[in-house]
Symmetry: C2
Subunit: 236 residues, 2 copies
Amino acid sequence: MKTIETCLTPEMLKYHDLSNKTVVVIDIFRATSCIVTALAHGVVSIIPVATVEEAKVLQSEGYLTAAERHGSKVEGFDLDNSPFSYLNPALKDKTIGLTTSNGTQAIHAAQEAGAYQVLIGSFLNISALENYLTQKAEGICLLCAGWKGKVNLEDSFFAGAMLERFLGNFTSINDDCALAYATYLAGKDNPLRFLESSAHYHRLETLGNHADITFCLQQGIYHNVPILQGNTLVNV
Amino acid sequence: MKTIETCLTPEMLKYHDLSNKTVVVIDIFRATSCIVTALAHGVVSIIPVATVEEAKVLQSEGYLTAAERHGSKVEGFDLDNSPFSYLNPALKDKTIGLTTSNGTQAIHAAQEAGAYQVLIGSFLNISALENYLTQKAEGICLLCAGWKGKVNLEDSFFAGAMLERFLGNFTSINDDCALAYATYLAGKDNPLRFLESSAHYHRLETLGNHADITFCLQQGIYHNVPILQGNTLVNV
């Protein structure tokens, strides 16, 4: 039987056996939503790196680079962590180096933990993800990026939205799934209102990023599934 | 304003500042339910220890001792981790040494993390806890013991039940609260049925402990609030 499990933060990844598992990295506000948007709009690949220093090296090698820390763009880089920045036609066929507070860390954590495959998940590509996983995955791990090691509401909520689509065909094998699914049920009728209570929503609002939040909550507007090949994210 | 936060497993305690916080340790299946039951029925104090070796030392010093690992009693000890074992009138006025897989570890983790106060929570004493905390606590941390580091459903569910009683008077300060509360809402109408899907429920059922589960889900039948004084649990 196919299995599905949820990991509420990368801190808990050590309790998951990822061999033969397809890991879906989730950082809906905003890294994974940006990655999906960029690759949907013609960016050819994204190199996710864990540190600002690594992003600087990529910049020195001539790559366009994006860096975010604490919700804001890091001084000196080309792009920030807003999905609107990736709608720019000038980015077509480019490769972008990217580092963010949580999402790119989670991608690396999944890779280091020996994941069979690493995909990028967001509401923007949720239907494409569902189709791909239903056809290709034997075991799924929904990895919430969280916020600096902590559990967060929005990524747990998204994991629950994925679970609703899979619980008929995949067996849930850990209790994190029940928490994520309950969280989705509690908020699905009005996601924006529900997520207003989350810590990161407040952080983004304070930084003036309300439009990013509503953008990231659009369901299934893109049809690409980003996958990690070596150290680079490309569309499947 | 008074605050309330939830910590879904002791692994995440490092993200909580516990100075001035009253920590409620939660391991409803079954350690904290046993502790409440024992102290409600005349046991005078309980010494929670992290390891089986420490429990053996207490036994060699003449204490009655209880030890549980993987859901079962450890060979050679006097008592197991079933609340029914603590209804015995012969235990009146005794002090008991106790080690369990998760609950006693969480008690020590809270103490080591610098908690201002450590209380013991379960459905059995939920109303007494509510009264005590409403009157005495300035900040509350609901610490779920989980299962060997992982998040579990039943302790998260109980944290949600506590949150329902406090969200009017205390401000929730982390996203774990939203997950726990959603979990409670999803299962409150039929806790037994809801918790059937949890990993530990299956473990206890397999070991023949169904009666323990229904016992532990009784709400407010005891009126004591166990508190850690030095290294010993006594009633407030």
